[in-house]
């Protein structure tokens, strides 16, 4: 796998690098020029996943070790811990390579769940604005919950997810129903879209106002008291 400049990725060593070389294939990345390299990476990853083609992808954020993505296995390989994930790299170099569906793995380990990486990229990209592939005003509903035991999430994410898991909502409706910050809502929607767990609900009726117990206050309900008990 090589990038457009011909630089070979096989010069990268370590457990997270591919174990063997492959013919060069590169894909020019779309450019959004926002100053955050994750914008381009998110757009590229979304496009690749829409193609549903088996691919390996390398993302190299400015100043960071490269991230190798094994899309067929929904895994990624990175030397660094997720705590070191750069939130706003000025650029991210993107290299792709098509592989056979049944090709053996190039990596020495099973890697980490791709959802962790997509969640981080989706949260960071687009500065809280809608991802370019989303249309303003459309309503969304989850097709499945994210695996919260492995994602770096907040209670607010869980609250918002419970709403959008039970009713189709637009970003603004979700912000109102969950009494959440609209930017945080949009970041989560972007991330879920990148994770592929969101569907657009065309023509859904407006969702009625929701008077859920205020889970943020100790007296607000059973859940609020339980969280208070646990110091959460």
């Amino acid at each position: 796998m090589t990038d457009a400049s011909g630089k070979s990725l096989e010069t990268v060593t370590g457990d997270d690098a591919p174990a063997e070389g492959t013919p060069p294939v590169s894909t020019p990345a779309p450019t959004l020029h926002s100053g955050n390299g994750w914008d381009d990476a998110a757009l590229a990853l979304h496009s690749i996943q829409q193609m549903n083609a088996p691919m390996l992808v390398m993302l190299e954020p400015e100043g960071c070790p490269p991230v190798y993505i094994d899309l067929p296995r929904r895994a990624f390989h990175w030397r660094s811990a997720m705590e070191e994930f750069p939130l706003e790299p000025s650029s991210v170099r993107i290299v792709t390579e098509a592989v056979a569906v049944d090709a053996p793995t190039r990596f020495r380990s099973a890697g980490r769940s791709l959802d962790k990486l997509l969640w981080a990229i989706g949260q960071s990209a687009f500065q809280g604005n809608p991802a370019p592939w989303l249309r303003p005003g459309e309503r969304y509903r989850l097709t499945s919950w994210p695996n919260f035991t492995e994602l770096n999430h907040t209670f607010d994410h869980m609250r918002m997810t419970a709403h959008i898991g039970n009713a189709p909502l637009s970003a603004s409706e979700l912000a109102a129903a969950a009494t959440s910050d609209p930017t945080a809502v949009q970041r989560m929607i972007n991330a879920y879209s990148l994770l592929g767990i969101l569907k657009v609900s065309e023509g859904s009726p407006a969702t009625p106002a929701i008077n859920a117990p205020d889970q943020t206050k100790p007296t607000g309900g059973f859940l609020a008291r339980l969280r208070s008990r646990w110091g959460l």
Binding site: S144, E150, M158, A162, G165, N166, P208, F222, L226
Partner: protein
């Protein structure tokens, strides 16, 4: 005394007792049942019938955690407890012979809990058996009941933080769903 009953169900070996130990503030009480069903299970020793743990929320409020046995010969206990339950954590060990079949069987039995959003699926031992993937569980649930989405998490039942996330999700989903249904009912009246 206000009480909130949470069930922990699933096949043998899925981690029900461990999950309750991760959450309970008291020493978990394990009751045993003599094996009166030697035709189905040829085991002379007693079998754990019920685990019990609790979380105290105040002087007059408790969360009661019941681990109910996986074998169908104990389904009378399921019947007794499910009507009192806020919800259920369904633990499935990923290395069992047919985890998706077990998932469907439990969903069938606990359909009324399921319909009010009161189930979270917690998949254990996915580090040992990498398949089925969580997406396959979600797909099986979607095929079973297309209108409902059940949270599916991978968990280590020994991990208190993960089990708390699971329990919070369960309660959050029940409360949110009830609020949405309540609002829709008001709108339609």
């Amino acid at each position: 005394m206000a009480e909130h009953v949470i069930l922990f169900a699933g096949p043998m070996g899925a981690g029900k007792s461990t999950a309750i130990r991760s959450l309970s503030e008291i020493e978990v009480v394990a009751t045993e049942a003599g094996n009166s069903d030697r035709e189905s299970v040829d085991k002379p020793t007693t079998t754990v019938a019920l685990d019990y743990g609790e979380i105290t929320l105040g002087d007059d409020e408790k969360v009661r955690l019941y681990g109910i046995p996986g074998q169908r010969r104990f389904d009378f206990m399921w019947e007794i407890l499910k009507d009192r339950a806020v919800g259920m954590v369904l633990l499935i060990n990923n290395d069992s012979p047919d985890p998706l079949l077990q998932l469907r069987e439990f969903l069938d039995y606990f359909a009324d809990l399921y319909s009010r959003g009161g189930i979270v699926v917690a998949v254990t031992r996915s580090d040992i058996a990498r398949t089925p993937k969580l997406a396959e569980y979600s797909a099986a649930i979607a095929a079973h009941t297309p209108d409902m989405i059940i949270p599916v998490f991978s968990v280590d039942a020994r991990n208190t933080e993960q089990m708390r996330t699971t329990l919070i999700t369960l309660i959050l989903n029940v409360e949110t769903r009830a609020a949405i249904i309540g609002a829709e009912t008001l709108k339609n009246d």
